[in-house]
Every structure is written in C-alpha cells, then in structure tokens.
C-alpha cells in the first residue's frame, strides 16, 4: 500500500468510525515513513471534517459523529509520541463551556469535537461554568474565541453576564453561542458574534471568522 492509500485508509476508518482498525492503520502509516502531522492533517482531521459535512447534509447523525470522534482519538493516541516532538500547527485556542446553572454537555462536547477537527485547540471548561472561569481561561489561553453553550431558556440568560464580563475584562476575541433555545436574534441581543445551530455549524463559522481576521 502506498502512502496515499494508507492515508486514505485511515481517513476512511474515521468516517466509518472504526476505532478498532485505525490504530493498526496509523502504525502502518508511521512505519511507512508518513510524518505524524501528515497523518493527523491529511487523514484524521480530514476524515472528521468529512463526517461534519455528512452531518450537515443530513446523511450522518449524532452516533456517527461520536464513533468517528472515538476513531480519531484512537488514531491520535498512536501518533501522540511523534506529535509531541514538534509543536502543532493550530488555528488558535478556543475556550468552551456550558454556562453557569446548566449541566448539559452533549451538544458542547460535540462542538468541541468539531472545533478540534477544524484545526483549533479546544480548552473545555466543562459544565456549570461561571463568568469568572470563562474570563480567567480566555486570558490564560489567549483564546481566539469563547464558545458558550446552554440547553435551557433559564440558563441561556446566564450567557449575557458572561459576555459582559469577558468584554469588561478586555477580551477582544470572538464569542459564539449555541444550544436548543438559542437564535441569531438572541445572539445579536446579548452581544455575541455568532449563533451556531449545531456543532458542525459552529466549527464552520468559527473557522471562517478566524481565517478572515
């Protein structure tokens, strides 16, 4: 199998969620002399982005995203010893979290997966995150953007004070919000830069905005 065929096989393993097969395929790739960063960019992340496209087209659903992520992570684990030797190329750090008062995180976790696949480094603060924690993390990580998630009408109202606190603290990056009750109108009202209808939409909008900056 030549290098392109190997990369294609690894990409295919992500798209089909074959976490059991992808480890061997990644080892074969490294043994064949393919640089780890090429396997990451040209196979794992490429495959994950393809999964995102299929999700947007309505051909893939939440399970396919989750198994693809598992496969991608299994592949990254094989590459990790090589990847740490060279600093990774990243579009920047994105701080994300579910806002204070809200414990839901499936949507936020899917967003983290797709944002990582889009080439960002994700700093995931988890659930029930206060304004202070968002401000601190955005500062410490020199974040390009902050993503806020909420599932409920009662907790999405906590987005506004977080955005206010971030801006007051001098955060100049992008702020993106998402979650079941969120609309673009709400994003506009509370001073967020974008609204994401789902995880894939959020990753796309972030990448587009950051590359335009």
């Amino acid at each position: 199998m030549d290098k392109n065929e190997l990369l294609n096989k690894i990409r295919e393993n992500v798209v089909t969620g074959m976490d059991d097969k992808i480890r061997d395929a990644c080892r074969q790739g490294l043994d064949a002399g393919i640089p780890a960063e090429d396997i990451l960019d040209k196979a794992l992340l490429k495959g994950m982005n393809e999964v995102g496209d299929l999700f947007s087209k309505g051909e893939y659903f939440i399970p396919e995203l989750l198994v693809a992520e598992r496969a991608m992570k299994a592949g990254i684990a094989v590459l990790e010893p090589e990847l740490v030797k060279k600093p990774s190329k990243s579009l920047g750090k994105i701080v994300i979290g579910t806002v204070a008062g809200d414990l839901h995180d499936i949507g936020k976790n899917l967003a983290a997966i797709m944002i990582s696949a889009a080439g960002f480094e994700v700093v995931d603060l988890g659930t029930d995150v206060s304004a202070e924690k968002f401000v601190q993390a955005a500062k410490q990580n020199s974040a390009r953007a902050v993503g806020l998630s909420a599932l409920l009408t009662t907790t999405m109202i906590n987005m506004a004070p977080i955005i206010k606190a971030l801006r007051k603290a001098g955060f100049k990056g992008l702020i993106i919000i998402g979650g079941a009750p969120i609309t673009q109108g709400y994003a506009d009202n509370i001073g967020a830069d974008f609204y994401a209808s789902d995880a894939v939409d959020g990753a796309r909008k972030l990448k587009l905005a950051v590359t335009r900056q």
Partner: protein, 374 residues
C-alpha cells in the same frame, strides 16, 4: 394576580372531536404535555413538597423514599384540582411501572429564586452491555399499576377524562442506556438496542392498552423525543427499522379501544412525519418550537391528516411579556384555528421557569379568540 379559568366545566368530548378532526366548530381547546408541580401548586394554593414531588415525577415513581412516594400520591389530587381550577377538559395522569431508569439529579436554579429542575445523566446508562441487559430487572406486564386511573375515575367532575401519559420506548431506551452510550451502541451493537426496544414495546403495548381500555381515559399521550434542533438523534433509517414499527404496535394498542393517540416529540423530526402519519397512524402531534419549525408551518403541512397541538414557544413564555405572548397567541390562532384540528398549548410543557402571567396571557387570549369566533 388573579387567574381566571380558561372556561367553566370540562367538555372532553369536544376536545376529542378536535383531536380526531371531526369538527371545525366550537372553541379552540387547550392541551398540555404536562404542567410542573410547582406551577400547579402555585395556582391551586395546594401545599405539596415540591422537591419530593418533582423527584417522584422525574424518576417515574421509582423511589424507596417514603416522603417521595407520599408526595407522589398527592400529585393526583393536585392535578385534578389544577385541571378543574383552570378549566381543562382533562387531567393528565400516568400508569406506574417499576422500570429502573437512570436517576435524575435535582438542582436549584438560582436564577429562579431556587426553583428546582431535574437533570438527566446523559452519559452513563444502566444497561451498557449484553450481560447488563440480561441481568436487568425487567418489570412484568402484571407490575403495571392502573390505580391512578381508578382514582381519577372516582374524583373527576362530569365531562372530564384522563389523558393517559406514557413514556415512549425511544425515550426509555435513552433513559436506560444514557444518550451517549445509546448513540454509540446504535452503530456498534444495534442488536442490543433492538432487544431493549422489544422489551420496552411489550410493556408499552400492555400499558397503553390498559390505559386506553379504561373508561376514565379519553386519549393517550405518548411522549417520545426523537429529535434535536436540526435533525433526528439517530438516522431516520435506524428509526424506521427499529422504532417506527414498534410505535405502530403501541398506537394500535390504543386504537383498539377507539381512543385518540397523541404523539409528542421534541426536536426536528420532519424526516419521520410521513412515517408517524402513514405507518404509526398518529391522530395528533404535539410540541413545536419557533427556532426549529413554527407551529403554523407544521399545521399547513399536516392538518389535513392529523391534528396539531401546542406550539407556543416555551422561551417566549419564559422571557417574553404578556403583550408579546398575546400577540403570538393571535398569530397562531389566526393560522391554525379556522380550519379546526388545533389545540392551543405550549410547545413543550408549562415549566416552572415560565412566567405565570405569560401562561395566563396565552390562555386568556385563546379564551377571547373563542368568544369572538364561536
């Protein structure tokens, strides 16, 4: 604030005719999936321990805590008092079944003066392997408890019927497996999901059949969330293979007794609407959220085939003003009321984070509409 009832007395027969699209005349009825216990307690003035009652509901009556069970037993009286006080044609009650599900975590919301919400564990399920499935303490169909219907039958005022609530098989699948685990297993081990769904369907067929056969029951409200904001949780292909045919069996168990089968699902499930109508044979669909698909749009598409219930966005009820709610109520009624087959209500339920004055504005504006048009 004084809350006026929507109307005096109950007329379930009119509600039934609207649900079955047998009439385009008469008032637009009101119908909810459910109303949070603290909202019912606030409106009726009944004293009930909200935390214990919420725990009872969120854990489907599955508790070893005597205080929780006691609070649960009082929910029937609370629901009856609330339905009568507000002028509903029905009372919502559910049969009890000792099915273990992942436990909800109760938490106070500081934004609402400490009101309680329940949070489902989304990650960890009770059944994650074939072995756990085989060891699972499945209830027998004989364990299904019909007492709430007998109790309601002895207490309901004339004209009122029970809307018998049943938790859907896909909803229970998520509650037993955890959403994330269920999603992954749907690809890696679909046979496991198939076997769990089959066990749940056998229970649901019997439970829904018992409910529908009971003279106190006027309709069955079957709640099975299948979607999220932009699509179905699992692929329509999976749902068509594993879930929809079972929904049909459950709907048939209701229809054998001539009762309307109202289907509730949150989220964007348009990909499955033809299946729900043509295969399952639902009589009505409930839910609808403006940022997913406004109820008027759904009504235009499907009102020739099924009735449409709800659609007043819970977000507006929570954050809007009574004036905004009244305006939106009018918009919905202008689009959905004249041709019949529509019941006003929230897009999900009257949650404890809805403003009571907004809930009241929705009912009052509908009442005014009925006075003007009937």
């Amino acid at each position: 604030m004084t809350i006026k009832p929507f109307k005096q007395g109950a007329d379930f027969e009119h509600l039934r005719k609207v649900l079955m699209r047998e009439t385009t005349k008469g008032p637009v009825p009101i119908l909810e999936l459910f109303v949070d216990v603290d909202v019912m307690a606030e409106i009726t003035g009944m004293d009930i321990p909200i935390d214990k009652a919420t725990e009872f509901i969120r854990n489907f009556g599955w508790s070893n805590d005597p205080e929780v069970v006691l609070a649960g037993s009082r929910i029937m009286d609370l629901s009856l008092a609330f339905s009568q006080a507000m002028g509903y044609d029905y009372v919502t009650l559910t049969l009890l079944m000792p099915l273990p599900r992942t436990q909800s975590q109760l938490r106070e919301n500081p934004q609402q003066g400490g009101k309680i919400r329940a949070w489902q564990n989304e990650h960890r399920g009770i059944i994650t392997t074939r072995k756990e499935f085989e060891e699972f303490p499945w209830p027998a169909t004989e364990d299904i408890e019909i007492f709430p219907l007998d109790y309601a039958a002895s207490k309901m005022p004339p004209g009122m019927k029970v809307v018998s609530f049943w938790t859907g098989i896909f909803e229970d699948l998520k509650l037993i497996m955890g959403i994330e685990n269920m999603a992954i297993k749907s690809i890696k081990e679909p046979d496991l999901l198939n076997d769990i769904l089959e066990r749940l369907t056998i229970l649901a067929e019997v439970g829904v059949g018992m409910a529908a056969a009971h003279p106190a029951t006027g309709a069955v409200l079957y709640a099975d969330d299948m979607g999220f904001n932009t699509g179905t949780m699992l692929s329509p292909k999976f749902m068509r293979e594993y879930v929809i045919p079972r929904h049909k069996r459950i709907a048939d168990a209701c229809h054998r007794h001539g009762k309307p089968f109202i289907f509730h699902s949150c989220g964007h499930v348009d990909a499955l609407m033809r299946d729900l109508i043509e295969v399952v044979g639902i009589d009505a669909r409930h839910s609808f959220q403006d940022n997913i698909e406004p109820v008027e749009k759904v009504y235009r598409k499907y009102h020739d085939e099924i009735s449409i219930v709800g659609g007043m966005d819970v977000d507006l009820l929570a954050r809007g003003t009574p004036e905004q709610v009244r305006k939106r109520t009018r918009q919905i009624l202008e689009a959905c009321a004249p041709s019949g087959g529509y019941c006003m209500g929230t897009g999900n339920s009257v949650t404890n984070y809805c403003k009571i004055e907004n809930y009241y504005a929705m009912l009052d504006e509908t009442r005014k509409w009925n006075e003007e048009h009937v």
